[in-house]
């Protein structure tokens, strides 16, 4: 795997940013936030307990609410703005902007979505659409 930075410690995990989610690879979703913000998104997921089995979810918070953090893959299009990060937990963790249309497994579980609503990170209407695999605007 090609990486965009050296693995960094995030809590008990090692995390690195994968290059193919930053270099315009057409079949991969692309981060639009910096590598340090990507790591912060992972740290937020870890600190908040948004981890189930070997999967974790993260958000990019701006003024206490989630903001866009990436774009869906150009191929197959259309490319749309994404606001959820999906992480795979392993010896060295990595993640990418999650497109619920591409994989239903990346839709956050009930406990995570419930936490996002109660903390006011995402509006309820947005959470409903995301849980149904519908790309939506913030």
């Amino acid at each position: 795997m090609t990486q965009a930075d050296e693995p960094a410690k995030v809590g008990e995990y090692s995390y690195f940013s994968k290059l193919d989610h930053r270099d315009g690879t057409a079949v991969k979703s692309q981060w639009t936030i910096s590598v340090s913000d990507e790591r912060a998104s992972f740290a937020l997921g870890v600190d908040s307990g948004w981890i189930i089995d070997q999967r974790a979810w993260g958000l990019y918070l701006k003024d206490g609410a989630a903001d866009y953090l990436g774009k869906s893959a150009m191929s197959p299009g259309p490319s749309v703005d994404l606001c959820i990060a999906f992480f795979q937990i392993s010896e060295i963790c990595h993640g990418y902007p999650s497109d619920p249309k591409r994989s239903v497994r990346e839709i956050p579980p009930d406990t995570v979505r419930s936490d996002w609503i109660s903390k006011g990170y995402l509006r309820s209407s947005v959470v409903r659409k995301l849980a149904r695999g519908i790309p939506c605007k913030l």
Binding site: P76, G77, P78, P100, K101, R102, S103, V104, R105, I107, P108, P109, D110, R113, S114, I117, S118, R123, S124, S125, V127, R128, K129, A131, R132, G133, I134, C136, K137
Partner: protein, 400 residues
């Protein structure tokens, strides 16, 4: 467009109505069950006594005014005039439900097994709640508390039941079909069957076929089945040994509407395809299928219309067909094109739903907002002639 609106203040995730019970799903994860008929009666006390029977019928017995007997009364200009006046009074403002009425009509409060769920459905006195982890079920013959059991663990973004089966939209995993058996058989059940591997974000029934809604760029498809032995009203729960219905084929929207860049959905005898500023509707009657002709598209499709909807300025993300018209959700608004062709706009909802299979609540639209729930009962369809009625609506119930 005339609607009776009942407003319930509070922070809700969703609502559902079935067999005299209103279920409110609160934002903190509870399910509150209410006696709906009594709630409507209690709200009606605050309105003019002359309006109360109509108010109750519109909200609690949606099918009543489709009966031959009541339609016959409307042939009298004098009676029609009086009914119209009373209807104008009832529909002139929202009717607020007080906390006192809510308290008096509350049956129970229990924790949801899957908050915030993706969908709710009821079929033959069983309540189903879906989430990306699967579908849970509880019998409605008892109290809901602690009675939910996992029916199927495929990811469920939406679900819809009819003809003894549940169609499950499983996103990138496609669309599934689950034969529904008695709750007593749990945890034994027939295995779910994948009907299509194509992306599916919602599902609906058109007659005995199932429509898979896929979303922008793929629109959707129809899973077409062989004609059933029984009609929908006779098709209850199946036995544990029931074999799945025979799937004839899966037909893409490009074969149905020669387009795939929109949203496909439907109900009853209608397919709807959206595009910017317009919708296309086509009658769908698979009972006309000829033997040994497979899906027999030529016979199943029977009346195509293109209708302009200028307000449809963004891509449709969800839709539903009801007896009162077609509801289409865009990212920031919900539109309803009514039976007279009027368009009503609603602000971005937290949730919304219609009840295409219901008799009592077939005219209802529930729209959940951040601080309240609005329950709309549409009444135009009782008073419009067949000739003036829009083709973009489910057919009226047959008089019984």
């Amino acid at each position: 467009m005339q609607t009776v609106e009942v407003r319930i203040p509070g922070q809700f995730w969703d609502s559902f109505i079935y067999n005299d019970r209103l279920y409110l799903f609160t934002l903190n994860g509870d399910i509150q069950s209410y006696r709906w008929d009594k709630l409507v009666e209690s709200v009606a006390i605050s309105i003019d006594a002359d309006c109360r029977p109509l108010f109750w019928q519109f909200l609690a017995r949606g099918q009543a005014w489709y009966s031959r007997e009541l339609q016959k009364l409307l042939e009298s200009p004098k009676i029609l005039n009086e009914i119209n006046k009373l209807t104008d009074l009832i529909t002139s403002h929202p009717h607020q439900v007080s906390s006192k009425i809510l308290k008096e009509t509350l049956i129970e409060t229990t924790g949801s097994p899957a908050h915030p769920h993706t969908d709710v459905e009821a079929f033959h006195n069983t309540l189903y709640i879906s989430s990306p982890s699967g579908v849970r079920a509880a019998p409605l013959s008892r109290r809901l508390s602690n009675n939910f059991k996992m029916l199927v663990d495929i990811p469920a973004l939406r679900m819809a039941c009819s003809y003894g089966s549940m169609a499950v939209a499983a996103g990138s995993d496609g669309m599934y079909d689950q034969v529904l058996t008695s709750f007593e058989d749990f945890p034994r059940r027939p295995e779910p069957r994948q009907l299509s591997p194509r992306n599916c974000i919602a599902c609906s029934w058109s007659s005995f076929d199932v429509i898979g809604t896929a979303g922008a760029g793929d629109a959707g498809f129809v899973a077409a089945f062989a004609k059933p032995q029984k009609d929908e009203t006779e098709s209850g729960l199946s036995s544990i040994t029931t074999t799945s219905r025979q799937l004839l084929d899966v037909i893409g929207s490009d074969d149905l509407f020669q387009a795939s860049d929109g949203l496909l959905f439907g109900a009853d005898n209608l397919l709807v395809m959206t595009s910017l500023s317009s919708i296309y509707v086509d009658g769908w009657n698979p009972y006309r299928r000829r033997e040994d002709r497979g899906v027999d598209l030529q016979k199943s499709l029977f009346s195509k219309y293109a209708l302009t909807v200028d307000e449809l300025t963004d891509a449709a993300i969800d839709g539903a067909v009801a007896v009162f018209g077609v509801a289409i959700e865009m990212d920031s608004a919900l539109l309803v094109r009514g039976v007279s062709g009027d368009i009503s706009g609603f602000g971005e909802p937290v949730n919304w739903r219609t009840y295409p299979r219901s008799r009592r609540y077939l005219n209802q639209l529930h729209v959940t907002y951040d601080d309240y729930l609005s329950i709309f009962a549409f009444v135009d369809d009782y008073f419009i002639s067949d000739q003036a009625r829009s083709p973009a609506a489910a057919s009226r119930p047959r008089p019984r």
